[in-house]
């Protein structure tokens, strides 16, 4: 009986290692790609005071604010729970989460400058996809863990009953 029990140990250890390794690889990639692109470097300096700038100068836009509002609105709008359950479908659920493109409501772009619209939309979509993907992966991991647990319980039960039968024989 040492062989099946050794195999079981090996299978469960491998599964746990695979799940944890997958999570370690995938989760950092999903952590707020928009914010990760921002740097702490000071913004580029404009023309010195008193001197005119050359060429067309668009109205100043707080890029950080547009990005932050895009992220914040995506967080508020996108239902993580829903995507968690979609992720329970497995790889298909994760694929759906990454192919479904969230878009901001047009009312939020009204009266905003072109720079704001571009930054806000990009960050909203990026964060939205990140939220969808992250929750779908959580759903997938939890679904997989539950599946593996059920599988292990079943295998143990079968092995135990087989063991009992061989002892009786």
């Amino acid at each position: 009986m040492s062989r099946p029990s050794g195999f079981l140990k090996w299978a469960s250890t491998s599964t746990v290692v695979a799940v944890v390794a997958g999570a370690l690889i995938l989760l950092p990639a999903l952590q707020r790609p928009v914010l990760a692109q921002q740097s702490w470097a000071p913004p580029p300096a404009g023309p010195p005071p008193g001197q005119p700038g050359y060429g067309y100068a668009p109205p100043p836009v707080d890029a950080g604010r547009a990005a932050a509002e895009g992220v914040q609105d995506a967080n508020a709008d996108i239902n993580g729970t829903l995507w968690f359950f979609v992720g329970c479908l497995g790889i298909i659920g994760i694929a759906v989460a990454y192919f479904a493109d969230p878009s901001p409501p047009p009312a939020r772009l009204m009266g905003k400058s072109s720079e704001y619209v571009m930054i806000y939309t990009t960050s909203y979509k990026s964060e939205g996809k990140s939220i969808q993907g992250r929750h779908a992966i959580y759903g997938c991991l939890v679904g997989t863990a539950i599946g593996v647990a059920i599988y292990i319980i079943l295998v143990v039960a079968i092995l135990k009953s087989a063991n009992d039968m061989s002892t009786v024989n």
């Binding site: 967080n75 508020a76 047009p106 009312a107 009204m110 072109s114």
Partner: protein, 249 residues
């Protein structure tokens, strides 16, 4: 002529339904605007309040026959928006710069959902498998509760509406746990053709846990039937020199 009219009505209904139901994973009304009288023009003021503060946007808008919406924003930034089923165009006339967003066939069309909610018949926005839970009269008003069930049999939440003789005055959308997702309140209405249009719309948006994140208040003035002979305003017509930039959507 008749076929074109029917086609445009069907297109509009499909567009609004898809936009509103896919914009939020929970039930969202503002979907199907019935075929009649989808053409109107109005001046608008939109006040938005969230944790960043309050902003006011004003201008004029038109619901154009065929399902498109044209918006001419005058303040704070001059801007024209053209919303159609497959495209969103945002034009900055001062800079002759346009953003064009192409909407994928499987993607919800862009829509001003608060306004659409005020014009649509809420019952017609629901998936056909939804179930009526309650219909009661109180103080001359009709209150209705629907369990919203999508075509796959998945329960999405609940929609509650309040209706007076003048028209719908409130729509509440709740998730499965009973948390509010969206709340629309409508003020007094004005008749435009066969359609009743609220002069004020207040839309509240809630985070998944139920905390309110944003409030929009639309005020419409000079609401009139859209005049097809008059030049359309705010429809973001691109000139030969217009710089066109793709907007991810």
């Amino acid at each position: 002529m008749a076929a074109g009219w029917v086609a445009s009505c069907v297109a509009w209904t499909a567009a609004t339904s898809a936009a509103l139901w896919s914009a939020a994973p929970t039930p969202d009304p503002s979907a199907a605007l019935a075929p009649a009288a989808l053409a109107l023009s109005a001046d608008f003021v939109l006040e938005t309040a969230d944790n960043q503060g309050t902003e006011t946007v004003s201008g004029a808008l038109s619901f154009v026959p065929g399902g498109d919406v044209c918006v001419a924003v005058k303040r704070p930034t001059s801007q024209e928006m053209h919303l159609s089923r497959r495209e969103l165009v945002i034009l900055y006339p001062d800079r002759d710069l346009a953003f064009v967003a192409h909407v994928a066939p499987n993607h919800a069309p862009p829509m001003l959902d608060a306004l659409a909610a005020g014009i649509a018949d809420p019952g017609s926005t629901l998936p056909s498998s939804s179930k009526l839970l309650e219909r009661r009269r109180a103080e001359g008003n009709l209150f209705t509760r629907w369990r919203v069930v999508d075509e796959g049999g998945q329960e999405m939440g609940e929609m509650r509406t309040g209706e007076s003789r003048g028209g719908v005055f409130s729509i509440d959308l709740l998730d499965q746990a009973g948390h509010p997702q969206r709340r629309f309140s409508f003020g007094d209405r004005v008749r435009v053709g066969a359609r009743s249009v609220p002069r004020t719309v207040e839309a509240e948006y809630f985070a998944p846990g139920g905390a309110r994140t944003r409030r929009e208040r639309w005020t419409l003035a000079n609401v009139i039937r859209f005049d097809q002979r008059a030049p359309s305003i705010g429809c973001a017509r691109l000139g030969p020199q217009t710089k066109v930039q793709e907007l991810p959507w």
